[in-house]
Subunit: 191 residues, 2 copies
DNA sequence: GGCGTCATGTCAGCTGCTGACATCACTGTA
DNA sequence: TACAGTGATGTCAGCAGCTGACATGACGCC
Protein backbone atom coordinates (compact mmCIF):
# COMPACT_ATOMS: atom_id res chain seq x y z
CA UNK A 1 0.00 0.00 0.00
CA UNK A 2 1.58 3.22 -1.25
CA UNK A 3 1.02 6.50 0.42
CA UNK A 4 0.88 8.59 -2.79
CA UNK A 5 0.03 7.73 -6.35
CA UNK A 6 2.94 8.57 -8.66
CA UNK A 7 2.83 11.20 -11.39
CA UNK A 8 1.20 13.97 -9.42
CA UNK A 9 2.43 16.60 -11.87
CA UNK A 10 1.08 14.83 -14.93
CA UNK A 11 -2.22 14.10 -13.20
CA UNK A 12 -2.61 17.78 -12.38
CA UNK A 13 -1.85 18.80 -15.97
CA UNK A 14 -4.30 16.29 -17.40
CA UNK A 15 -6.98 17.26 -14.89
CA UNK A 16 -6.49 20.94 -15.65
CA UNK A 17 -6.74 20.56 -19.42
CA UNK A 18 -9.83 18.43 -19.05
CA UNK A 19 -11.57 20.83 -16.66
CA UNK A 20 -10.58 23.92 -18.67
CA UNK A 21 -11.94 22.34 -21.83
CA UNK A 22 -15.19 21.47 -20.06
CA UNK A 23 -15.82 24.61 -17.99
CA UNK A 24 -13.37 27.19 -19.25
CA UNK A 25 -10.29 28.52 -17.51
CA UNK A 26 -11.99 31.06 -15.29
CA UNK A 27 -14.82 28.69 -14.51
CA UNK A 28 -12.41 26.23 -12.96
CA UNK A 29 -10.89 26.69 -9.51
CA UNK A 30 -7.51 25.38 -8.57
CA UNK A 31 -9.09 23.43 -5.72
CA UNK A 32 -11.24 21.71 -8.33
CA UNK A 33 -8.28 20.72 -10.49
CA UNK A 34 -6.44 19.42 -7.47
CA UNK A 35 -9.44 17.43 -6.28
CA UNK A 36 -9.83 15.92 -9.76
CA UNK A 37 -6.22 14.79 -9.50
CA UNK A 38 -6.76 13.52 -5.98
CA UNK A 39 -4.63 16.22 -4.39
CA UNK A 40 -5.06 19.52 -2.57
CA UNK A 41 -4.82 23.09 -3.77
CA UNK A 42 -1.60 23.58 -1.81
CA UNK A 43 0.06 20.75 -3.66
CA UNK A 44 -0.95 22.24 -7.00
CA UNK A 45 0.97 25.38 -6.15
CA UNK A 46 4.02 23.33 -5.22
CA UNK A 47 4.18 22.05 -8.81
CA UNK A 48 3.07 25.16 -10.69
CA UNK A 49 3.88 28.76 -9.91
CA UNK A 50 0.35 29.83 -10.76
CA UNK A 51 -2.90 28.54 -12.19
CA UNK A 52 -1.95 29.35 -15.79
CA UNK A 53 1.43 27.71 -15.68
CA UNK A 54 -0.10 24.24 -15.57
CA UNK A 55 -0.69 24.55 -19.33
CA UNK A 56 2.82 25.82 -20.12
CA UNK A 57 5.21 23.82 -17.96
CA UNK A 58 7.72 21.72 -19.85
CA UNK A 59 8.39 24.09 -22.67
CA UNK A 60 11.99 24.53 -21.58
CA UNK A 61 12.98 21.71 -23.89
CA UNK A 62 11.15 23.40 -26.72
CA UNK A 63 13.11 26.60 -26.22
CA UNK A 64 16.35 24.69 -25.95
CA UNK A 65 15.76 23.12 -29.36
CA UNK A 66 15.65 26.57 -30.93
CA UNK A 67 18.73 27.80 -29.14
CA UNK A 68 20.70 24.65 -29.92
CA UNK A 69 19.63 24.92 -33.53
CA UNK A 70 21.21 28.37 -33.73
CA UNK A 71 24.34 27.28 -31.87
CA UNK A 72 24.91 24.22 -34.05
CA UNK A 73 23.99 25.60 -37.47
CA UNK A 74 26.81 26.03 -39.99
CA UNK A 75 27.91 29.59 -40.56
CA UNK A 76 25.24 31.59 -42.30
CA UNK A 77 23.54 34.96 -42.32
CA UNK A 78 21.19 35.63 -39.34
CA UNK A 79 18.04 34.51 -41.10
CA UNK A 80 19.83 31.34 -42.17
CA UNK A 81 20.62 30.56 -38.54
CA UNK A 82 17.02 31.20 -37.60
CA UNK A 83 15.84 28.92 -40.38
CA UNK A 84 18.07 26.18 -38.98
CA UNK A 85 16.58 26.71 -35.53
CA UNK A 86 13.05 26.47 -36.92
CA UNK A 87 13.87 23.18 -38.61
CA UNK A 88 15.36 21.73 -35.45
CA UNK A 89 12.42 22.68 -33.30
CA UNK A 90 9.89 20.81 -35.38
CA UNK A 91 10.95 17.51 -33.83
CA UNK A 92 9.10 18.71 -30.74
CA UNK A 93 5.83 18.68 -32.67
CA UNK A 94 5.49 15.16 -33.94
CA UNK A 95 2.30 14.11 -35.66
CA UNK A 96 0.90 12.37 -32.60
CA UNK A 97 1.14 15.63 -30.69
CA UNK A 98 -1.19 17.44 -33.06
CA UNK A 99 -4.56 16.54 -31.46
CA UNK A 100 -3.28 17.46 -28.02
CA UNK A 101 -1.89 20.74 -29.32
CA UNK A 102 -5.24 21.50 -30.88
CA UNK A 103 -7.16 20.87 -27.66
CA UNK A 104 -4.72 22.95 -25.68
CA UNK A 105 -4.89 25.83 -28.15
CA UNK A 106 -8.68 25.91 -28.04
CA UNK A 107 -8.46 26.49 -24.31
CA UNK A 108 -5.79 29.17 -24.66
CA UNK A 109 -7.63 31.00 -27.44
CA UNK A 110 -10.67 31.24 -25.19
CA UNK A 111 -8.94 33.11 -22.37
CA UNK A 112 -6.94 36.35 -22.52
CA UNK A 113 -5.01 35.46 -19.39
CA UNK A 114 -3.72 32.31 -21.02
CA UNK A 115 -2.91 34.21 -24.19
CA UNK A 116 -0.81 36.59 -22.11
CA UNK A 117 1.18 33.71 -20.71
CA UNK A 118 1.67 32.19 -24.14
CA UNK A 119 2.93 35.50 -25.49
CA UNK A 120 5.32 35.86 -22.58
CA UNK A 121 6.74 32.42 -23.31
CA UNK A 122 7.17 33.24 -26.99
CA UNK A 123 8.77 36.53 -26.03
CA UNK A 124 11.20 34.60 -23.87
CA UNK A 125 11.90 32.36 -26.84
CA UNK A 126 12.66 35.37 -29.02
CA UNK A 127 14.95 36.76 -26.33
CA UNK A 128 16.81 33.45 -26.07
CA UNK A 129 17.19 33.28 -29.84
CA UNK A 130 18.44 36.85 -29.88
CA UNK A 131 21.10 35.92 -27.35
CA UNK A 132 22.04 32.91 -29.46
CA UNK A 133 22.44 35.07 -32.54
CA UNK A 134 24.47 37.63 -30.61
CA UNK A 135 26.71 34.77 -29.54
CA UNK A 136 27.23 33.93 -33.20
CA UNK A 137 28.41 37.47 -33.81
CA UNK A 138 25.22 39.09 -35.03
CA UNK A 139 24.72 42.76 -34.13
CA UNK A 140 21.96 43.60 -31.64
CA UNK A 141 19.29 45.01 -33.90
CA UNK A 142 19.61 42.45 -36.71
CA UNK A 143 19.66 39.74 -34.05
CA UNK A 144 16.43 40.99 -32.48
CA UNK A 145 14.75 41.35 -35.87
CA UNK A 146 15.80 37.92 -37.07
CA UNK A 147 14.66 36.31 -33.81
CA UNK A 148 11.31 38.10 -33.81
CA UNK A 149 10.81 37.17 -37.45
CA UNK A 150 11.59 33.56 -36.66
CA UNK A 151 9.05 33.50 -33.86
CA UNK A 152 6.49 35.14 -36.14
CA UNK A 153 7.07 32.40 -38.71
CA UNK A 154 6.72 29.76 -36.03
CA UNK A 155 3.48 31.25 -34.70
CA UNK A 156 1.87 31.49 -38.12
CA UNK A 157 3.06 28.02 -39.08
CA UNK A 158 1.93 26.50 -35.81
CA UNK A 159 -1.49 28.11 -36.15
CA UNK A 160 -1.78 26.61 -39.61
CA UNK A 161 -0.56 23.22 -38.42
CA UNK A 162 -3.34 22.88 -35.87
CA UNK A 163 -6.02 24.31 -38.16
CA UNK A 164 -8.91 21.97 -38.85
CA UNK A 165 -8.25 19.71 -41.82
CA UNK A 166 -4.58 20.63 -42.11
CA UNK A 167 -2.45 17.56 -42.79
CA UNK A 168 0.98 18.85 -43.81
CA UNK A 169 3.79 18.44 -41.30
CA UNK A 170 4.91 21.45 -39.31
CA UNK A 171 8.27 21.48 -41.03
CA UNK A 172 6.71 21.73 -44.47
CA UNK A 173 4.39 24.50 -43.36
CA UNK A 174 7.26 26.38 -41.76
CA UNK A 175 9.30 26.28 -44.95
CA UNK A 176 6.36 27.67 -46.90
CA UNK A 177 5.71 30.42 -44.35
CA UNK A 178 9.36 31.41 -44.26
CA UNK A 179 9.39 31.69 -48.05
CA UNK A 180 6.26 33.80 -47.82
CA UNK A 181 7.94 36.07 -45.29
CA UNK A 182 10.85 36.66 -47.64
CA UNK A 183 8.43 37.56 -50.41
CA UNK A 184 6.39 39.90 -48.22
CA UNK A 185 9.34 41.78 -46.75
CA UNK A 186 11.00 42.00 -50.15
CA UNK A 187 8.24 44.25 -51.44
CA UNK A 188 9.25 47.80 -52.31
CA UNK A 189 8.03 50.68 -50.12
CA UNK A 190 5.46 53.02 -51.59
CA UNK A 191 4.15 56.48 -50.69
CA UNK B 1 -17.71 73.14 -2.72
CA UNK B 2 -17.61 70.16 -5.04
CA UNK B 3 -18.23 66.66 -3.86
CA UNK B 4 -15.54 65.03 -6.02
CA UNK B 5 -12.33 66.34 -7.45
CA UNK B 6 -12.33 65.97 -11.25
CA UNK B 7 -9.95 63.77 -13.19
CA UNK B 8 -10.22 60.67 -11.04
CA UNK B 9 -8.91 58.46 -13.85
CA UNK B 10 -5.84 60.56 -14.50
CA UNK B 11 -5.12 60.88 -10.79
CA UNK B 12 -5.24 57.11 -10.44
CA UNK B 13 -2.88 56.64 -13.38
CA UNK B 14 -0.40 59.18 -12.07
CA UNK B 15 -0.56 57.75 -8.55
CA UNK B 16 -0.03 54.24 -9.87
CA UNK B 17 3.02 55.10 -11.99
CA UNK B 18 4.53 57.01 -9.08
CA UNK B 19 3.98 54.21 -6.57
CA UNK B 20 5.12 51.48 -8.97
CA UNK B 21 8.31 53.40 -9.68
CA UNK B 22 8.94 53.86 -5.98
CA UNK B 23 7.97 50.43 -4.59
CA UNK B 24 7.59 48.18 -7.60
CA UNK B 25 4.39 46.78 -9.05
CA UNK B 26 3.95 43.87 -6.67
CA UNK B 27 4.97 45.97 -3.71
CA UNK B 28 2.07 48.32 -4.30
CA UNK B 29 -1.52 47.48 -3.37
CA UNK B 30 -4.52 48.81 -5.24
CA UNK B 31 -5.84 50.28 -2.00
CA UNK B 32 -2.60 52.24 -1.74
CA UNK B 33 -2.88 53.65 -5.26
CA UNK B 34 -6.47 54.63 -4.61
CA UNK B 35 -5.63 56.28 -1.31
CA UNK B 36 -2.82 58.23 -3.00
CA UNK B 37 -5.39 59.50 -5.48
CA UNK B 38 -7.86 60.23 -2.70
CA UNK B 39 -10.23 57.45 -3.71
CA UNK B 40 -11.10 53.91 -2.64
CA UNK B 41 -10.09 50.56 -4.04
CA UNK B 42 -13.59 49.95 -5.33
CA UNK B 43 -13.45 53.09 -7.42
CA UNK B 44 -10.11 52.03 -8.91
CA UNK B 45 -11.76 48.90 -10.26
CA UNK B 46 -14.54 50.97 -11.77
CA UNK B 47 -11.99 52.74 -13.96
CA UNK B 48 -9.60 49.87 -14.68
CA UNK B 49 -10.45 46.24 -15.27
CA UNK B 50 -7.48 45.12 -13.20
CA UNK B 51 -4.41 46.43 -11.44
CA UNK B 52 -2.18 46.18 -14.51
CA UNK B 53 -4.55 47.95 -16.84
CA UNK B 54 -3.91 51.30 -15.15
CA UNK B 55 -0.62 51.47 -17.08
CA UNK B 56 -2.14 50.53 -20.44
CA UNK B 57 -5.46 52.36 -20.68
CA UNK B 58 -5.73 54.85 -23.51
CA UNK B 59 -3.84 52.93 -26.10
CA UNK B 60 -6.93 52.59 -28.26
CA UNK B 61 -5.96 55.78 -30.06
CA UNK B 62 -2.49 54.36 -30.64
CA UNK B 63 -3.92 51.24 -32.26
CA UNK B 64 -6.31 53.33 -34.32
CA UNK B 65 -3.40 55.28 -35.79
CA UNK B 66 -1.91 52.07 -37.14
CA UNK B 67 -5.16 50.81 -38.56
CA UNK B 68 -6.02 54.16 -40.14
CA UNK B 69 -2.54 54.30 -41.61
CA UNK B 70 -3.18 51.03 -43.40
CA UNK B 71 -6.66 52.02 -44.49
CA UNK B 72 -5.57 55.38 -45.90
CA UNK B 73 -2.27 54.41 -47.50
CA UNK B 74 -2.10 54.50 -51.32
CA UNK B 75 -2.13 51.13 -52.99
CA UNK B 76 1.02 49.19 -52.27
CA UNK B 77 2.35 45.76 -51.42
CA UNK B 78 1.60 44.56 -47.85
CA UNK B 79 4.89 45.73 -46.38
CA UNK B 80 4.37 49.12 -48.00
CA UNK B 81 1.03 49.45 -46.25
CA UNK B 82 2.63 48.47 -42.97
CA UNK B 83 5.39 51.04 -43.49
CA UNK B 84 2.72 53.70 -43.96
CA UNK B 85 1.04 52.61 -40.73
CA UNK B 86 4.33 52.82 -38.86
CA UNK B 87 4.91 56.35 -40.11
CA UNK B 88 1.44 57.45 -39.10
CA UNK B 89 1.71 56.04 -35.62
CA UNK B 90 4.81 58.01 -34.72
CA UNK B 91 2.70 61.14 -34.15
CA UNK B 92 1.58 59.42 -30.96
CA UNK B 93 5.14 59.51 -29.63
CA UNK B 94 6.11 63.14 -29.72
CA UNK B 95 9.38 64.23 -28.20
CA UNK B 96 7.78 65.46 -24.97
CA UNK B 97 6.38 62.00 -24.41
CA UNK B 98 9.82 60.38 -24.33
CA UNK B 99 10.65 60.85 -20.61
CA UNK B 100 7.24 59.56 -19.57
CA UNK B 101 7.60 56.55 -21.90
CA UNK B 102 10.97 55.81 -20.36
CA UNK B 103 9.66 55.90 -16.80
CA UNK B 104 6.74 53.70 -17.72
CA UNK B 105 8.95 51.19 -19.50
CA UNK B 106 11.28 50.87 -16.53
CA UNK B 107 8.30 49.81 -14.44
CA UNK B 108 7.06 47.36 -17.07
CA UNK B 109 10.49 45.83 -17.62
CA UNK B 110 10.72 45.09 -13.91
CA UNK B 111 7.57 42.95 -13.73
CA UNK B 112 6.65 39.88 -15.79
CA UNK B 113 2.96 40.45 -15.20
CA UNK B 114 3.17 43.87 -16.80
CA UNK B 115 5.23 42.46 -19.66
CA UNK B 116 2.47 39.96 -20.28
CA UNK B 117 -0.08 42.72 -20.56
CA UNK B 118 2.13 44.73 -22.89
CA UNK B 119 2.60 41.72 -25.13
CA UNK B 120 -1.15 41.11 -25.20
CA UNK B 121 -1.72 44.71 -26.29
CA UNK B 122 0.90 44.41 -29.03
CA UNK B 123 -0.65 41.14 -30.10
CA UNK B 124 -3.98 42.91 -30.35
CA UNK B 125 -2.29 45.57 -32.45
CA UNK B 126 -0.90 42.93 -34.81
CA UNK B 127 -4.33 41.33 -35.08
CA UNK B 128 -5.92 44.68 -35.90
CA UNK B 129 -3.27 45.40 -38.52
CA UNK B 130 -3.81 41.93 -39.98
CA UNK B 131 -7.52 42.67 -40.33
CA UNK B 132 -6.70 46.01 -41.95
CA UNK B 133 -4.44 44.31 -44.47
CA UNK B 134 -7.04 41.66 -45.17
CA UNK B 135 -9.48 44.46 -45.85
CA UNK B 136 -7.05 45.83 -48.41
CA UNK B 137 -7.10 42.49 -50.18
CA UNK B 138 -4.02 40.86 -48.72
CA UNK B 139 -4.16 37.09 -48.26
CA UNK B 140 -4.26 35.75 -44.69
CA UNK B 141 -0.72 34.51 -44.27
CA UNK B 142 1.06 37.44 -45.91
CA UNK B 143 -1.19 39.75 -43.92
CA UNK B 144 -0.26 38.10 -40.64
CA UNK B 145 3.44 38.11 -41.50
CA UNK B 146 3.48 41.73 -42.59
CA UNK B 147 1.57 42.79 -39.47
CA UNK B 148 3.83 40.81 -37.14
CA UNK B 149 6.89 42.19 -38.89
CA UNK B 150 5.54 45.70 -38.53
CA UNK B 151 4.99 45.22 -34.80
CA UNK B 152 8.49 43.77 -34.46
CA UNK B 153 9.92 46.84 -36.16
CA UNK B 154 7.91 49.07 -33.87
CA UNK B 155 9.05 47.22 -30.75
CA UNK B 156 12.71 47.34 -31.67
CA UNK B 157 12.47 50.97 -32.73
CA UNK B 158 10.57 51.98 -29.61
CA UNK B 159 13.11 50.23 -27.42
CA UNK B 160 15.86 52.16 -29.15
CA UNK B 161 13.94 55.44 -28.90
CA UNK B 162 13.71 55.24 -25.12
CA UNK B 163 17.28 53.99 -24.66
CA UNK B 164 19.48 56.23 -22.56
CA UNK B 165 21.22 58.89 -24.61
CA UNK B 166 19.16 58.23 -27.75
CA UNK B 167 18.13 61.49 -29.41
CA UNK B 168 16.83 60.57 -32.85
CA UNK B 169 13.09 60.81 -33.40
CA UNK B 170 11.04 57.63 -33.42
CA UNK B 171 10.21 58.04 -37.08
CA UNK B 172 13.88 58.16 -38.06
CA UNK B 173 14.69 55.12 -35.95
CA UNK B 174 11.75 53.22 -37.39
CA UNK B 175 12.90 53.87 -40.94
CA UNK B 176 16.36 52.58 -40.09
CA UNK B 177 15.00 49.49 -38.37
CA UNK B 178 12.66 48.73 -41.25
CA UNK B 179 15.56 48.97 -43.66
CA UNK B 180 17.53 46.66 -41.40
CA UNK B 181 14.65 44.18 -41.41
CA UNK B 182 14.64 44.08 -45.20
CA UNK B 183 18.37 43.44 -45.18
CA UNK B 184 18.14 40.70 -42.57
CA UNK B 185 15.25 38.83 -44.16
CA UNK B 186 16.87 39.19 -47.55
CA UNK B 187 19.70 37.04 -46.27
CA UNK B 188 22.51 39.52 -46.00
CA UNK B 189 25.23 38.74 -43.47
CA UNK B 190 25.06 41.25 -40.62
CA UNK B 191 27.52 41.78 -37.83
C1' DG C 1 -39.37 71.71 -3.69
C1' DG C 2 -39.00 67.20 -5.00
C1' DC C 3 -36.84 63.65 -7.82
C1' DG C 4 -33.68 61.13 -10.56
C1' DT C 5 -28.84 60.66 -11.90
C1' DC C 6 -24.41 59.11 -11.17
C1' DA C 7 -19.77 59.06 -9.21
C1' DT C 8 -18.29 57.32 -5.20
C1' DG C 9 -18.34 54.66 -0.73
C1' DT C 10 -19.33 50.48 2.24
C1' DC C 11 -19.50 45.74 2.98
C1' DA C 12 -19.38 40.91 2.35
C1' DG C 13 -17.40 37.26 -0.07
C1' DC C 14 -14.83 34.32 -3.41
C1' DT C 15 -10.46 32.93 -5.46
C1' DG C 16 -5.45 32.96 -6.24
C1' DC C 17 -1.50 32.40 -3.83
C1' DT C 18 1.90 31.95 0.29
C1' DG C 19 4.25 30.91 4.75
C1' DA C 20 4.48 27.97 8.73
C1' DC C 21 3.95 23.85 10.55
C1' DA C 22 2.12 18.91 10.88
C1' DT C 23 1.86 14.15 9.08
C1' DC C 24 3.55 9.74 7.95
C1' DA C 25 5.20 6.05 4.62
C1' DC C 26 9.62 4.98 3.26
C1' DT C 27 14.80 4.50 3.83
C1' DG C 28 19.07 3.76 5.78
C1' DT C 29 21.61 2.46 9.67
C1' DA C 30 23.03 0.92 14.31
C1' DT D 1 14.42 -4.48 15.34
C1' DA D 2 14.31 0.14 16.57
C1' DC D 3 14.68 4.64 15.33
C1' DA D 4 15.93 9.03 13.26
C1' DG D 5 15.82 11.42 8.85
C1' DT D 6 13.71 12.48 4.35
C1' DG D 7 10.36 14.20 1.40
C1' DA D 8 5.76 14.50 -0.69
C1' DT D 9 1.60 15.85 0.92
C1' DG D 10 -1.96 17.99 4.11
C1' DT D 11 -3.85 21.68 7.30
C1' DC D 12 -4.50 26.25 8.55
C1' DA D 13 -4.34 31.14 8.65
C1' DG D 14 -4.02 35.18 6.09
C1' DC D 15 -3.26 38.77 2.45
C1' DA D 16 -4.36 40.83 -1.98
C1' DG D 17 -7.07 41.04 -6.29
C1' DC D 18 -11.51 41.47 -7.80
C1' DT D 19 -16.88 41.54 -7.80
C1' DG D 20 -21.87 42.08 -6.70
C1' DA D 21 -25.28 44.43 -4.01
C1' DC D 22 -26.61 48.24 -1.91
C1' DA D 23 -26.06 53.00 0.32
C1' DT D 24 -24.93 57.99 -0.01
C1' DG D 25 -25.33 62.59 -1.28
C1' DA D 26 -24.36 66.74 -4.43
C1' DC D 27 -26.00 68.15 -8.70
C1' DG D 28 -29.30 69.20 -12.48
C1' DC D 29 -33.89 69.11 -14.12
C1' DC D 30 -38.83 69.79 -14.08
Amino acid sequence: MVRWQPGARERLQAAALERFAAQGFEGTTVAEIAATAGLTERTFFRYFADKREVLFAGQDEFERLFVDGIARAPDADPMGLVAAALEGATTFFAEERRPWSRARQVVIDADPGLQERELLKLSGLAAAMTRGLRHRGVDPIPAALAAESGVAVFRVAFGTWIAEGEERSLIDIQRAVLAELRTVVDGQPVG
